[in-house]
Symmetry: C2
Subunit: 62 residues, 2 copies
């Protein structure tokens, strides 16, 4: 499976925000993330970087 873990940068550190992320959709200045298990989270953030081979998404708060 090719889901990824999404981390948010807080105080200069990467904090796990959601595991097993399947879908990411920007909506205005928010991001909607949905995991392969259907868990959904919305955060006021932007994508800082995606690394698909390493299964890692880095978010930064707006």
């Amino acid at each position: 499976m090719c889901e990824a873990a999404a981390y948010i940068i807080r105080n200069g550190k990467e904090e796990l925000f959601l595991e097993d992320v399947d879908i990411i959709e920007p909506e205005g200045d928010e991001l909607r993330l949905v995991s392969i298990f259907g868990e959904q989270k919305v955060i006021k953030a932007a994508i800082q970087s995606l690394n698909l081979v390493n299964h890692k998404v880095i978010l930064k708060e707006r």
Copy 2:
């Protein structure tokens, strides 16, 4: 491998922009995409949606 194909929406249709994408990094109002083969492309676009399980990234031009 978990690379994805990136498509850009033009005239309402999805056009393949870059295959085997590993890394996506927003830089200002541009996106830098790097494939697993090191091919790099920059486009004035935003991420419209990511679907990691389906290996699909949809971009929209700015």
